[in-house]
């Protein structure tokens, strides 16, 4: 950090006004053709890019993490406000523009948000940003009073002279503080002094989300804006051969039809008109190499490859020898399907491309990527590409992709007007970046006492990082191995293999990524091994977690709070699972019953989470509650299948979501380990499916080895 710079954000129009709470959630709104607003004369104290204080004492905090439901508009300001001792009612929050130089994640180096990285990657940085401001305000007050800085302290919004009780409001110190050098290593609070962190703080964005005023991507309106809908090739990797738009152009309200990378865009004065125009298109596709691809072919291919050796991702001892060593052994195959994210807000983006500027309004998890995409398509330097991040109607990893940004920038460039490109639900389900389908073989051996002596696992499937060019082909994809390679159990002979097989179906990061599927298979199979050993599945895990006390901690907490071992009503059973993902440790105990028709009812899920310092404990609970429902949807219903290279599902009738009548009671218990913060958006997901499936086994004796759960197989004969 250098010397304090001063600037004002007054030139920004507000995207939405959350009256009453005293908080304003804004985003950079558009003057068509204009770049970022110019810096104004010094009328605020801004020691860094994260905060400024004006003469009225209003603290403006700039949140770099897109708000997709995880609570970044609350947690981020809590951290800054705590260290600077800001008055919560005097805080305004703005969403950062794309500017990786200022706002890139310090760990990944990109202004892109996934991997539950909001708090955990920025915690120290934001604390220091707030602490620097506080230290400078204290120095300014000490100068004003002509006393030593050691004699002053702060309370929310004020510097206080300890001896006399004199006070100066932060707003009164703006000019003086602006003249001071920014401390490089400001002193941070000790946790006992936290004022907001770890306390109950209500979300700052609730009001705008209950009165309809919150602005999501789909709600953006720009003067002169047109609305477009794109017809895409139904087959992945297919291309456009030719199209006839004459009937489309005759549809009232249709303004233009243009070819773009992702298909044919029908541009109209309203979404409804664009849709009618789209129906009238006559398109011939070159369906390409995947035109005959089916889910059955993928499964057969995986199955054949699973019989061949893969790349060795981990080898401890000699698993093959131990398996042949004469103990009790078992083998099992687990499969998971492709899954779509199904954000409630379908993909969309608005763009306005002119000769010397590109302005993008997008519900994106990746503002830096959107800026780069805009620059690539327009040929403009990134500084001429403004990205306004709106509220996101769900993210789950889907909104880190660039396809919906490309749609809008290309279409606007082609028609020379601001254009909002909106996807239908069908577009969204059928043109996703899917959670990879995989095929997994396990073998294990236990000795005469039941101790596991060998654990062997071969995973066959595509690698997300490799498909996206972020890892080299022929290497082991870290995302594919997450959860299987680093399982926590203390077993002497372990071999984990990976075989890459990518059929070309677009794949992506789906809430909790590798662990979303790998924890299901690992935690199901360890349960099988516990039964092979004739041991209680909770005690069996616990005994193998000696080397991972944080796993053990959440496992024990979930078991205690979930009444593991206590009697249950007839027809119910419990299952348990534990995992590490995204910096946090989580465990679940599920309590289930199965109806005569095979339908599973999850009555209760008791969760335990050790996410280190829980910055916003109610937010932690909300993410755990939400993760449970997301995971149960996948366990009960989630399945994208292919036929002739096409996704067979299209909307919520055939890609169903869990509904309130199926939602269990979710209890969340936070284990306060005091460690550095871990992630939360994702860690609530991985252990849910295995806990439920293990409970189903305990109840029925039937092991669920592929998802979604086949209810027919659980029918009582």
């Amino acid at each position: 950090m250098g010397r304090a710079t001063t600037f004002s954000r007054r030139t920004l129009l507000k995207g939405s006004l959350a009256a009453g709470s005293g908080l304003v959630i804004g985003f950079w709104l558009p003057r068509p053709g204009a770049g970022p607003p110019p810096a104004e004369a010094a009328d605020a104290f801004a020691p860094n890019q994260w905060l400024s204080i004006d003469r009225d004492g209003v603290v403006t905090i700039v949140n770099s993490v897109p708000e997709m439901g995880q609570g970044s508009l609350t947690t981020m300001p809590m951290i800054i406000a705590d260290e600077m001792d800001a008055e919560w009612s005097k805080i305004k929050i703005e969403q950062a523009p794309a500017n990786p130089q200022l706002y890139a994640n310090p760990v990944t180096g990109a202004q892109a948000y996934g991997g539950s990285r909001g708090v955990r990657d920025h915690f120290e940085m934001w604390r220091k940003a707030g602490a620097a401001a506080r230290q400078m305000l204290m120095q300014a007050a000490a100068q004003e009073w002509n006393v030593k800085v050691e004699e002053v302290d702060t309370e929310p919004g004020y510097v206080v002279h300890k001896g006399t009780g004199r006070k100066l409001a932060y707003g009164q110190l703006v000019d003086k503080a602006s003249q001071l050098p920014v401390p490089k290593d400001p002193k941070l609070k000790t946790p006992d002094k936290f004022r907001y962190i770890g306390k109950v703080v209500h979300r700052t964005d609730t009001r705008e989300k209950v009165n309809g005023s919150g602005v999501y991507g789909v709600d953006v309106k720009v003067p002169g804006m047109l609305v477009a809908s794109i017809e895409r090739c139904p087959v992945f990797r297919g291309t456009l051969k030719s199209f006839d738009a004459s009937a489309t152009k005759a549809v009232p309200g249709v303004n233009n039809v243009v070819q773009v990378s992702n298909g044919v865009a029908v541009v109209a004065d309203s979404f409804w008109s664009a849709l009618q125009g789209r129906k009238a298109l006559k398109i011939t596709w070159e369906e390409g190499p995947l035109a005959q691809l089916s889910s059955a072919e993928i499964t057969r291919g995986y199955e054949a490859l699973a019989k061949q050796p893969g790349m060795v991702a981990r080898k401890d001892g000699d698993a093959a020898k131990a398996l042949a060593g004469g103990g009790k052994t078992m083998e099992a195959v687990y499969q998971v399907p492709f899954l779509e994210h199904a954000c409630m807000e379908p993909m969309n983006t608005t763009a306005h491309v002119t000769a010397d500027a590109c302005v993008i309004w997008s519900p994106t998890q990746n503002p830096g990527g959107a800026q780069a995409t805009g620059a690539r398509i327009t040929g403009l330097p990134p500084a001429k590409v403004t990205v306004n991040t709106t509220l996101l109607g769900g993210g789950f990893g889907r909104r880190g992709e660039q396809d919906f940004i490309v749609d809008a920038v290309e279409t606007s460039k082609a028609v020379g007007a601001p254009v909002k490109v909106m996807w239908t639900r069908e577009d969204d389900i059928q043109h996703g970046f899917y959670r990879p389908a995989t095929y997994n073989v396990f073998r294990a051996a236990v000795d005469t006492q039941g101790h596991p002596v060998a654990w062997w696992n071969r995973v066959v499937g595509p690698g997300i990082l490799i498909q996206k060019g972020r890892a080299q082909a022929g290497t082991i994809d870290g995302a594919a191995m997450e959860g299987v390679r680093n399982f926590p159990y203390d077993i002497p002979n372990v071999e984990i293999e990976w075989t890459e097989k990518d059929y070309g179906v677009p794949i992506g990061f789906w809430r909790s990524v590798g662990p979303s599927q790998n924890i299901y298979i690992v935690e199901s199979f360890i349960d099988e091994v516990a039964h092979l050993a004739g041991k209680d599945p909770y005690e069996y895990r616990r005994a193998l977690l000696g080397k991972s006390p944080r796993h053990k901690g959440v496992l024990e907490l979930a078991a205690t709070k979930g009444n593991w071992g206590a009697p249950l009503p007839e027809g119910r059973a419990r299952g348990i699972a534990v995992a590490f993902s995204y910096g946090s440790y989580a465990a679940h105990v599920a309590e289930v019953s199965v109806a005569p028709d095979g339908k599973v009812r999850v009555h209760k899920l008791t969760g335990a989470i050790d996410c280190g310092i829980a910055v916003n404990p109610d937010g932690v609970k909300a993410q755990m509650e939400g993760g449970t429902v997301y995971a149960l949807t996948a366990a009960f219903y989630g399945q994208i299948t292919l036929d002739h290279g096409r996704v067979q599902q299209s909307n919520f009738h055939d890609y169903p979501m869990l509904r309130i009548n199926e939602a269990p009671v979710v209890e969340v218990h936070i284990l306060d380990s005091g460690a550095a913060p871990g992630g939360l958006g994702e860690p609530g997901v991985p252990t849910v499916a295995p806990a439920v499936c293990n409970a189903i086994f305990a109840l029925t004796g039937k092991r669920v080895r592929s998802l979604p759960i086949n209810f027919d197989e659980l029918k009582k004969a």
Binding site: G20, E67, M68, G69, Q70, G71, H202, R203, D205, T206, R207, E208, K209, V210, N211, G212, S213, G214, V215, Y216, V218, D219, K221, V227, P252, S270, F271, W272, A342, C343, M344, E345, P346, L391, L392, G393, G394, G395, F396, M422, T424, R425, A622, E625, G626, G627, T628, V629, Y630, N651, F652, H653, M657, L658, R659, I660, N661, A663, V665, V666
Partner: protein, 154 residues
């Protein structure tokens, strides 16, 4: 021209006979609080009240509700203080928030006809509304809280 009564205001809109109310509200009247989620009446994000009944505006044409009283999330209260909104704020129900306009309109319609709903009543009335963030547990609790607020037990 169709005459619509939306949030107490009579408005003339020039749309074809097949245009869903959802798009008239969002694109012509600027009432973007009502959301598009599926277009086929299976997710509930577009729920509004027509003469007090919760309906899916994505499959209801504007023409079909001409002359009826349409209330959207923007018209539920003037100060964001409908009991359901107050309860939602108190319990921090929304996460991404995209489905919440529809959830709130369904909940408000439920409480209007059933002041003390049971869990089963809530499940029954709210199971047409999908929340992908999984706020169902808080929705259940907030509906009960709203029922108490509505009865004057604030």
């Amino acid at each position: 021209m169709i005459s619509l009564v939306v949030n107490g205001k009579t408005q003339q809109v020039d749309v074809g006979p097949d245009v869903p109310l959802l798009w008239v509200l969002r694109e012509q009247l600027g009432l973007t609080g009502t959301k598009y989620g599926c277009g086929v009446a299976v997710c509930g994000a577009c729920t509004v009240h027509v003469d007090g009944q919760p309906i899916r505006s994505c499959v209801t044409t504007a023409a079909a509700v001409a002359g009826s009283k349409v209330v959207t999330i923007e018209g539920l209260s003037t100060k964001t203080d409908h009991p359901v909104q107050r309860a939602w704020i108190e319990l921090d129900v929304p996460q991404c928030g995209y489905c919440q306009s529809g959830q709130i309109m369904s909940a408000a319609a439920l409480l209007a006809k059933m002041p003390s709903p049971t869990d089963a009543d809530i499940d029954d009335a709210m199971s047409d509304n999908i929340c992908r963030c999984g706020t169902y547990q808080r929705i259940r609790a907030a509906i009960k809280r709203a029922a108490a607020i509505q009865k004057g037990g604030a």
